[in-house]
């Protein structure tokens, strides 16, 4: 009898192992997609044509090491597309922007990285301020509007990520929502808000408040918001999920998370985005961006890669696959998204959003962060 139970449990485990071992093998197409990187569906972009100068084609394509603070599911396909088109052997290290930036700071001059591709201006600023970036060529920088690149030419924005208010469609209509993020300090919003104070994008918004409003008004906003007892979430994803489920009615997030929920759970998902029309810090459009490490062993490939991220193909990829805003002119945004030009964005230089330490201190002083 005793023996039988042991055998039973072991067979169940083995059977489970078998099932899941088969599962990946049963999806050979997924493998192909990952490796040859024809972006699976909904691609409106023309096939890639990279026109490289003849001498570069003749030469050995060489290597490139990218440190990516953006996740593999977001940027893996487009990086692979670059490798495919150029023959460059690209190795990527993925992580969160803050952790990769901390790694770069510890590595210092011995970093194996050629390019840092970061999710937010805070990470780029920390690496730029440590003097680890080399200036980029003017023709790359000039592809994106001023404000979305480093004034010293140390990094360039690649795609735009808008701060929005995500709201539960069963509880609220757009007409119920105010124009400016300041108005959420009204006690009528008490207990209805979700936010993610440890999240880099939220912190970038607070940094933008400090730039646009000044230290005192930002402190007032944070204190008044605290009085409204917002629910604390770990990240944007959790907020969108909670808003969709009705756990909170609104949340401060980046615009593109919603579209992934709609794709996975269908149009019935009860949350939508509201772009604050007031033009204040709540209407911030942040840049994800890239810079070349000064110690790069492959500076030519690093520059080619950054230029590639600003090519029509790559910009189109960010628009259609990650639902972000292309920063290069002439690339259309995804259906259902308001055009960047139509948004009343906060007028702020991304490079001014690099004082993360000051923002963290303010968040701690107001009790928002531990």
């Amino acid at each position: 009898m005793k023996k039988n139970h042991a055998v039973l449990a072991t067979t169940t485990l083995a059977a489970l192992a078998l099932v899941s071992a088969c599962a990946p093998a049963a999806a050979p197409t997924a493998q192909i997609i990952r490796e040859t990187v024809e972006v699976p569906v909904e691609v409106t972009a023309p096939p890639i044509v990279i026109t490289a100068p003849p001498e570069q084609v003749a030469a050995e394509p060489g290597r490139l090491v990218v440190y990516s603070g953006r996740s593999e599911s977001l940027v893996g396909p487009i990086i692979a597309q670059f490798a495919e088109a150029t023959g460059v052997q690209v190795d990527v290290k993925y992580g969160s922007t803050a952790e990769i930036a901390a790694t770069l700071l510890e590595e210092g001059a011995n970093s194996p990285a050629d390019v840092f591709f970061a999710q937010d201006p805070g990470g780029l600023g920390a690496v730029a301020n440590a003097g680890l970036f080399a200036p980029l060529p003017e023709e790359t920088l000039s592809l994106v509007p001023t404000g979305y690149r480093s004034p010293a030419g140390l990094w360039v924005g690649v795609s735009g990520r808008a701060r929005v208010v995500v709201y539960n469609t069963e509880a609220l209509a757009p007409a119920d929502l105010p124009a400016d993020v300041w108005d959420f300090t009204d006690p009528m919003w008490a207990g209805r808000i979700g936010w993610a104070p440890t999240n880099g994008s939220f912190q970038a918004m607070v940094t933008a408040m400090r730039v646009a409003w000044g230290e005192e008004k930002t402190r007032e906003w944070l204190t008044a918001m605290q009085a409204n007892a917002p629910k604390v979430f770990e990240g944007n994803t959790n907020i969108v999920e909670a808003v969709g489920a009705g756990e909170v009615e609104i949340g401060f997030v980046n615009h593109y998370y919603l579209y992934r929920f709609l794709k996975e759970q269908g149009e019935g998902f009860a949350a939508r985005n509201y772009f604050l029309p007031g033009g204040g810090p709540g209407s911030l459009v942040m840049a994800a961006g890239a810079g070349q490490l000064e110690t790069s062993a492959n500076p030519d490939n690093a520059q080619r890669f950054i230029a590639f991220l600003l090519s029509t193909v790559a910009q189109q990829y960010f628009a259609s696959q990650t639902y972000e805003y292309p920063l290069v002119e002439g690339v259309a945004v995804e259906r259902g998204l308001p055009a960047l030009a139509e948004l009343n964005r906060l007028d702020v230089d991304m490079a001014a959003l690099d004082d993360l330490a000051g923002t963290t201190r303010l968040l701690q002083e107001t009790g928002v962060l531990p």
Binding site: K2, K3, H5, A6, A9, T10, L13, A17, S20, A23, P24, A25, A27, P28, T29, A30, Q31, I33, P40, V65, S71, E72, S73, D91, V92, K93, Y94, G95, S96, A98, E99, A101, T103, L105, E106, E107, G108, N110, P112, T198, Q203, V232, T237, N238, E241, A245, G246, E247, Y257, R260, F261, E264, G266, L356, A357, T360, Q364, G367, L369, P370
Partner: protein
């Protein structure tokens, strides 16, 4: 220092010196991250020191210790009855439970907490199920201390379960039986005989639970309970390396406090002289049989079946909506390779430390053994950045190689191997070795032929624990892995951080399965 008439016959001096040298080397390796923290903290300006002494920081210290203490107590409360039920009673399906109950350890805390919140959170699955028939629109609050304690207990009670179970199996049944024959009831035998004998095992398991609770980041952040680790992460994310180092040193001090407390609790533990020669008598539970079964089922349901079931549900929902599975062969192999090597290295490093501390008990050997815990309460990011600092600057040829990653895993998870080996060694009377020697074996030979075979369950237990914690490791892997070295844990992270739940389910299930196998193997052999 080496006081003792209880000392076994000494090994030859060269062997003993080698043991000392190896142990010192291991302790030095584990202290490497702490050295880095001192280097960094030395650069901190006075303002940072002032920040450290904020009342808020002290309050969070208190909350952190409260969490660690509560989780440890709750784990002992859950695990000891389960261990006793599965080794000493006629609990239905008890062999199967012995295999199932340690498995929650393989579920990464960031996955488990996420699933817990989506199941029991406000507007979660449970509330959804109850709303239609019963009109329930609000469930009791799960956030804060209670939720964090529940989750961390469900994830970490297996540490106590495994150590207690092993001790119960190796404990000579004669002591309990004598107590019974002298007229003690089952209950009082347990309290007066069994439990005191279990103290070293409870100490070893409870220590790992307490340090796990100190270190955890995933569960406390999802359940919104501010602990010291959260403060540390906030500090790292604002690129304040000096301040972060200071905070991490506080965590090292906390670890020392916990270690000291454990040592104080176990100050007068006697080494058992007899070990199990035959299986203990099975106690019939009678009318308690089914309540005990339900208790066991409830723990297994909450800690394992529910998370695994939800992951399957996500997977199926994703597949139905047209999501394709990613190929995970490479990531699975990388996970197995990295964790397997880490398990081997950790056990090899733990062996001299454990032998030295058990066979040559003294202050210095005890200190060396305790030092191997120094890094266990540090969040992975601290260890990883320390090794980036040393690796990129002092040993560029090792930097971003598998070797350095395996080294990091070993440093992080070593105490689990040390604890398992120590507990096992304590139960092997040195007299066995001595007998072999008196029959003409040389000391090493005697150790190899007599102690090592008896030690095998401890070796397997230690290796399995290191294997599975390395397999679910995220921060160290993200920062130190060779370029392009994806593991199952990084695949889960990559998908979850971008809200692709269906994609996260398959690698998460694979982590659970892959790490179940060695665990099932070693528990099954006992």
């Amino acid at each position: 220092m080496r006081s003792g008439d209880r000392q076994p016959a000494r090994w030859a001096t060269p062997t003993r010196l080698a043991l000392w040298a190896l142990s010192a080397l291991v302790a030095a390796a584990v202290l490497l991250p702490t050295v880095y923290l001192f280097v960094r903290a030395a650069g901190a300006d006075p303002q940072v020191w002032a920040g450290l002494l904020r009342t808020r920081t002290l309050e969070i210290l208190g909350r952190t210790l409260l969490l660690a203490a509560t989780v440890t107590a709750a784990s002992i409360g859950v695990a000891v009855p389960l261990a006793w039920l599965t080794t000493r009673t006629d609990l239905p399906l008890r062999r199967a439970w012995s295999l199932i109950l340690p498995l929650p350890l393989v579920v990464p805390s960031y996955v488990s907490a996420y699933l817990f919140v989506s199941a029991f959170g406000p507007r979660g699955l449970l509330q959804g199920l109850l709303e239609a028939p019963l009109g329930v629109t609000r469930l009791p609050e799960i956030y804060g201390l209670p939720g964090a304690v529940v989750i961390l207990t469900l994830l970490s009670y297996p540490y106590v379960f495994l150590s207690t179970r092993a001790a119960l199996l190796r404990m000579s049944p004669t002591l309990e039986e004598s107590a019974r024959s002298l007229g003690e009831g089952a209950w009082s035998t347990f309290w007066r005989v069994t439990l005191p004998l279990l103290r070293p095992a409870l100490g070893a398991g409870g220590l790992l639970v307490a340090l796990y609770a100190l270190r955890d980041f995933g569960a406390v952040s999802l359940l919104r309970y501010d602990t010291f680790t959260r403060v540390l992460y906030v500090s790292y994310r604002s690129f304040d390396r000096e301040g972060s180092a200071l905070l991490a040193l506080v965590l090292v001090v906390l670890t020392l406090v916990v270690l000291g407390f454990e040592a104080w609790l176990l100050r007068r533990v006697t080494q058992p002289t007899a070990s199990a020669t035959r299986p203990p008598r099975i106690l019939p539970l009678g009318s308690w049989r089914w309540p005990a079964f339900l208790f066991t089922l409830a723990v297994a349901f909450l800690s394992l079946f529910l998370p695994a079931g939800l992951l399957l549900y996500w997977l199926i929902r994703g597949l139905n909506s047209g999501e394709t599975l990613m190929a995970l062969g490479g990531a699975t192999w990388n996970s197995l390779l990295g964790s397997g090597l880490a398990a081997a290295l950790a056990v090899a490093a733990a062996l001299p430390v454990a032998i030295l501390s058990v066979r040559y008990p003294g202050r210095l050997t005890r200190l060396i053994e305790r030092l191997t815990y120094a890094s266990f309460a540090l969040p992975g990011i601290v260890i990883a950045l320390a090794l980036v600092f040393f690796g990129a600057r002092q040993a560029p040829f090792l930097y971003q190689t598998l070797a350095l990653l395996v080294f990091a895993y070993a440093v992080l998870y070593l105490p689990q191997a040390v604890g398992a080996l120590r507990t096992a060694l304590l139960q092997i009377p040195p007299s066995l070795d001595e007998a072999a020697r008196s029959l003409g074996r040389r000391p090493i030979q005697a150790f190899w032929e007599v102690t090592v075979p008896l030690l095998r369950p401890g070796l397997l237990a230690g290796a399995s624990l290191v294997f599975l914690t390395a397999m679910k490791d995220l921060p160290a892997t993200l920062i130190l892995a060779p370029l392009g070295f994806d593991t199952l844990a990084t695949e889960v992270w990559s998908a979850v951080s971008e809200a692709f739940f269906a994609r996260a389910a398959a690698p998460a299930l694979l982590i659970v399965l892959m790490s179940s196998l060695p665990l099932a193997f070693f528990v099954g052999r006992e």
